[in-house]
Symmetry: C2
Subunit: 161 residues, 2 copies
């Protein structure tokens, strides 16, 4: 199982790739895609597609993990987030990836043991689990790691529920 | 100019392809893509992609026309509509299509002369303009024709404003 977890966004899209071998979990890669806010939206959509298409091929990804979005204050942002999710759905289908979706509460619960944990708490636990990982500059990276971990641990979580 | 106008949807996605030669406008094709509501969403996203990818290639489409969505009662539908718009943005970028987006009011105004026109009025005018077109079973088809026409006429409309 090689899982790609993504925290999509038009400015910063955090991602992480984890490999599960038996009971052990390895961090293959973590980082973010930065896109310019001055570039036309449809070019950024294509850039997002090409970037993750290449990652899936390069690391023979088998699973894709995403957080279910919630409608925030800005409906336009919610819709635009949908564009990127559409691209990820397309990639999941084209590469026959198993698709895992978790609510923000499920992700926090899986990683910290509390569904109401703060972003900082999530980052704290993620950094404890991957001590070699440098403190990422962007929360998007630790967020994506939390989603990947949730995908890796989901059977355990399903039992725990 | 060969324009593809789309009224995206997960059940029925209406589309129309028009060709402009000088002052004349020809209807190349109009119809809809029907998808099963029991199929997983990411497979439908991929089907939507493949269908319009093939149309763009088959008719050497140069322009893509879309209506800007508005947030209705159902936020989940709004997000899901975003998935399909993301796919269309990707196709526009991959095939270097000129992308035209119009508000519902702009489309109604361009076709019927009134920004507050009903769906039926839009369909009525579209059928007058293309008398050989059979009354489509789905309003999605006439809606997509209205968007395509808006794209074809946009310079005129821009002058008129």
């Amino acid at each position: 199982m090689i899982i790609l977890g993504i925290d999509p966004g038009f400015q910063y899209a955090g991602f992480s790739i984890l490999k599960k071998e038996g009971q052990r979990v390895f961090l293959i890669e973590a980082g973010f895609l930065k896109m310019s806010s001055t570039e036309p939206l449809h070019h950024r959509v294509a850039k997002f597609h090409d970037f993750f298409h290449a990652k899936i091929l390069a690391h023979t990804v088998t699973d894709l993990a995403l957080e279910t979005p919630f409608l925030g204050k800005n409906a336009q942002n919610f819709l635009k987030l949908g564009y990127l999710r559409g691209i990820l759905y397309l990639l999941a289908s084209q590469h026959s990836l198993a698709l895992h979706e978790f609510s923000p509460t499920q992700v926090k619960l899986a990683v910290t043991g509390s569904g109401g944990a703060s972003k900082e708490q999530v980052a704290y636990v993620v950094l404890k689990l991957f001590p070699r990982l440098e403190q990422p500059k962007k929360a998007d990276v630790t967020d994506s790691l939390a989603v990947s971990l949730c995908g890796i641990w989901q059977n355990k979580n399903l039992t725990a529920r």
